[in-house]
Amino acid sequence: MFKIDRMRIVFFCAALVLALFYPVCKIVSFEYPSVPPVVMEFKVQGMAPHDPLRGRYVYLNIDQSYIELDKRIDDEKLHSWRYRNGVCYVALETDEDGLAGAVAIATDPARLPVDKPFMRVEYLWEERIMDHDAKGGDDAQFRYRYHFRYPFNRFYINEPLAPRADRLLAETARKGGEVHVSVNVYAHGGFSVNELYVDDRPIREILTQVDK
């Protein structure tokens, strides 16, 4: 064997280790997290489109993907429309109904309240809303709404179940039922979607029961 091919084999092994490094780290971080994840529920609307590579999924449209504040956040990036689709972080809190929502937003997670779980999201835009009911008559005050996109917008399901899931979700929306998604929020700002609930029942359970 030529010397150059021996070198190539060594480099190839190193490249394979490098290629496996990220997947292995991901598996370890989800299977054996150093800090147990916080389970949070979000109210969603769903429909079932198709991904040519990864198959069918339920597209999750999160009900409230913005945060409204009395004061403008002191962060240049969040004021610029150029930062649209940029990375930012939101602190999450569960309300009295058990549904999670964002309570703070920042481009640096260190600026968020330390006692709340946080998540990496995609920043969209800043909206200035005139508050006509505010005290001061003509001196109307402004409120600031920061729109963002939650990263968990997909719930993957099996190919044969997808069309039925689509019909079930449409029917639930028509009847005014509720669809929730349960999400594990990890200490590093990552997440994994646990289950999709239609009227408090897991969607897979409903679909497989219909089968039987």
Binding site: D5, Y22, F152, V193
Partner: protein, 433 residues
């Protein structure tokens, strides 16, 4: 059947006639016949090799696609561990193929298949993990990671197929790369080193294809690195491409294998004409992010260095011929220093573009006449005519004057070509005499 093979087959058919006419003797006929048959065989074998490669790769892709769809349909039957194991199969196949290829010194098909399986296997495993753990993720992050992890396989297997896919896959990360160009630049640099390696090697079979692949790569570079003072940066990029094409042509690269010169020269001409009339072409983009400005400026200084290295090489080779043209374009690139750093670059940029287009056009015409080269002559004429037409569009002249201008430009092109052809014919007649 390609042209070369046709020529050899024609010669084979003519050999008995040559022999009968006494042009060649029996031994010469035998030697020529053997040579022609060998050449025809070689061409056919090489063509068969490419067909086999293409069909085999298509087959591999279809088999892989079918397997993916099969598991996709039955995905819920498998547990999490089994799903991860199934998702790792393409990478495992890539690993085995790669080891066999490298340890037994296999040919092109094996190298390409190993690179393709290893890179796509890695991409598939990452994509499937996000599906298995329901973690979502952005396409930009996914493509950045996948392309960076594909780079080692590209180099180890010297795979032109993976290099081609890599270039076009870069465009998937365009949206994110504009807001944060660091990762985009890194991905681009990884490919640029591969391209430079092939272009620098004396006998690389992929050099011509790599030159063509450089065109989409340059478009990607323009998208992610020309966010600030776009006109100035695009002009420098086009000047680099034209100069690199001229260097390649001077080193004997055939025109068909050298798309840089026509594409770069055309882009440069268009940019000069646009720069001469459009407001805001040379201004700073106030909305560009600080990061985009820093990356744009860094790219600009690197581009300046590259241009001057190429220009120095051109002046060394073409001292007497086209050197003045490169001096003028170099002057434009040099003026860009002012346009980048100056406070009010619009007027200077507009006037400068017009002057440089006019001088470069005239120099090309003169050089075309001197060298009897119709392509150089017509390139100069086209630049001058384009300049006249564009200035008529954005001037305050009436329709009558504009029509006269268009007629004059058209006549200039026609008359110029007529005079040039007559002169060339006259020169060839004198040479023959």
């Amino acid at each position: 059947m390609n042209r070369r093979q046709k020529q050899f087959e024609w010669l084979l058919g003519e050999l008995p006639g040559f022999r009968a006419a006494g042009v060649i003797d029996e031994s010469a006929e035998d030697a020529l016949r053997r040579h022609c048959q060998d050449e025809c065989g070689k061409t056919a074998a090489s063509r068969r090799g490419y067909y086999t490669l293409a069909i085999s790769l298509l087959g591999l892709v279809l088999v892989a696609g079918g397997v993916v769809l099969f598991f996709n349909y039955n995905w819920d039957m498998l547990g999490k561990t089994a799903r991860i194991a199934v998702s790792s199969v393409p990478l495992a196949i890539g690993a085995v193929l790669g080891m066999v290829t490298l340890s037994t010194g296999r040919g092109v098909l094996w190298r390409e298949a190993s690179a393709l399986f290893s890179a796509t296997g890695t991409a598939l495993l990452i994509a499937m993990l996000s599906q298995i753990y329901q973690t979502g993720g952005s396409l930009y992050d996914f493509m950045t990671l996948t392309l960076l992890l594909a780079l080692p396989f590209l180099y180890i297997f010297n795979s032109i197929l993976l290099a081609t896919i890599y270039v076009f896959a870069m465009f998937v990360m365009t949206g994110g790369a504009i807001t944060s160009p660091a990762a985009g630049t890194l991905v681009l640099a990884g490919w640029a080193i591969f391209a430079a390696w092939h272009l620098g090697a004396k006998a690389s079979p992929y050099a011509a294809w790599v030159r063509y692949l450089t065109l989409p790569a340059a478009v990607f570079a323009a998208i992610i690195l020309c966010e600030w003072r776009t006109g100035v940066q695009l002009m420098t990029l086009a000047a680099i491409m034209a100069a690199a094409g001229a260097v390649a042509a001077a080193h004997g690269v055939p025109a068909k294998q050298n798309p840089w010169l026509p594409v770069g020269a055309f882009a440069l001409g268009v940019l000069l004409l646009v720069g001469g009339c459009r407001n805001g072409f040379f201004s700073a983009d106030d909305h560009a992010s600080r990061q985009a400005i820093i990356w744009s400026q860094s790219a600009f200084w690197v581009a300046q260095l590259v241009y001057w290295l190429l220009a120095a090489e051109l002046v060394r080779i073409e001292r007497r011929n086209l050197a003045p043209v490169w001096y003028v374009i170099g002057l434009m690139v040099l003026c860009n220093y002012y346009l980048v750093l100056g406070d009010d670059p619009e007027t200077v940029g507009r006037i400068g573009s017009n002057v440089i287009a006019a001088v470069a056009g005239l120099l090309l015409v003169i050089n075309g006449v001197r060298r009897n080269s119709s392509s150089v002559f017509n390139a100069g004429l086209a630049l001058l005519a384009g300049l006249v037409v564009c200035r008529f569009f954005d001037s305050d002249l009436g329709v009558l004057w504009r029509s006269a201008g268009f007629v004059a430009s058209g006549l200039l092109l026609l008359a110029g070509n007529l005079v040039f052809i007559r002169r060339r014919n006259h020169c060839s007649e004198v040479k023959n005499v």
